[in-house]
Symmetry: C2
Subunit: 222 residues, 2 copies
DNA sequence: GGCTCCTAAGTGAGTACTTACTTACCGAAT
DNA sequence: ATTCGGTAAGTAAGTACTCACTTAGGAGCC
């Protein structure tokens, strides 16, 4: 495999596997920019530089192609695993019960990832709105685990007596809300950052501080 | 005009105005559930109980019909004005510089409104993803004003010496993030509330507390 | 009340084009 | 010579949109 990812000038002959991957990749881009019903098999074929028949040789229906994307994206997502498995500074912070570090690195990791794969985010939203099941699967297989993990951390720190009494899942909702909202602005609503122009690092720092002070035991009686 | 809103059994004759409104209403529902390209003029006509020709008598193109919806929704939104103009408890809280009251009532107002008009929210997201301009207009005409207002309030309270030094717009981003994330879960991803089942009142209370403690001057030096 | 007229609500059956998907066939490489 | 990547040219059903035409029902008259 000396050929680096699809060395094609369009129209070149490829192995079935390569072509399949290339069609898939092309389809991801189109589905993520125009949604399922806004994307035609013709456009996918054109963009991939093959005839429509080739698309249907590899994927028996349009729905099937969409399903393959969801599967691939889900696996890819699965292989990256959870941030607390792969992100070293985060693992370190967790071990040391460095609360700021934990929240900071979770936020930074999430925002960087979300904004690096805009296609995935758009696919997720389209899928949720159009009621395909990527969103649902991503939700049960990833998001709920995130709630468990962060919620668990908060509960632990409550037992340690450094965080005040509050439903840990509300804390997670608030925290993920900040992160997601920031990413959504940057990739969807306010790409030019007219409302707020800060780096993900700054955002992560501020969000971590807000949530930390927000749930700290130190109650500023007023 | 004794007839209350479209007193029709389907197939009855209506005035042009009533029929126009009815088609529009039907179209809002369909566009908000299936998006622009996922909704056909045929389905709209069927759902409204008229022939397709009637749809095109009232709206010269499908794009035109979509535009009319955006316009209507924008105006409707405009007439409700901003929460700080119409929500009495909020106005009261602002006057008294009751910080908790301010954040609590903004959050509650927003979440109730968002979850009451799911169609509008879905339309907004479809519009943003499909790159129509409702989202953009809503953004510049509403969201940016919200940033100005809440950001302004925070800045004022910083001058008063009760909130710590932090970019007020970051506070707004964090706070709106919590609110929006909660609504999105309730209307899109987690309708059954398996992750977190709390009332909007509880959520508003918790979010307000988190943001308040989060930006309070009272620094719990860890 | 009944009668006519006329506007405007409403339609059936189209048009030109696009959609997802199929079939019959080609030619390069193993 | 057979396999397999690839295509041209289909099909049937759908798409947005049009047009020639039909009818309901109110205004005005008797």
């Amino acid at each position: 495999m000396i050929k680096d990812l699809f060395n094609c000038e369009h129209g070149q002959r490829m192995t079935g596997d390569d072509r399949r991957k290339q069609i898939l990749q092309t389809a991801v881009h189109l589905f993520s920019t125009h949604g399922f019903s806004g994307t035609t098999t013709r456009k996918i074929a054109e963009a991939a530089g093959v005839s429509e028949a080739m698309v249907f040789k590899h994927f028996s229906t349009k729905e099937d192609l969409y399903g393959a994307i969801l599967h691939e994206k889900a696996c890819e997502e699965g292989s990256h695993r959870f941030p607390w498995d792969s992100n070293e500074p985060l693992k370190e912070a967790i071990k040391n019960k460095d609360d700021f570090g934990v929240f900071y690195h979770i936020a930074l990791h999430a925002m960087n990832k979300q904004q690096a794969d805009v296609g995935f985010m758009r696919l997720m939203f389209f899928s949720a709105l159009e009621d395909h099941d990527l969103a649902e699967r991503f939700f049960t297989e990833f998001v709920s685990k995130v709630y468990d993990f962060i919620g668990g951390y908060v509960a632990e720190r409550q037992k340690d007596g450094v965080m005040r009494e509050i439903n840990p899942r509300v804390v997670v909702r608030a925290f993920i809300g900040m992160i997601l909202h920031h990413s959504l602005n940057n990739i969807l609503w306010d790409k030019k950052q007219t409302l707020l122009k800060i780096t993900n690092e700054e955002a992560a720092k501020n969000f971590a501080e807000i949530i930390l002070h927000g749930v700290s035991i130190n109650d500023p009686a007023n």
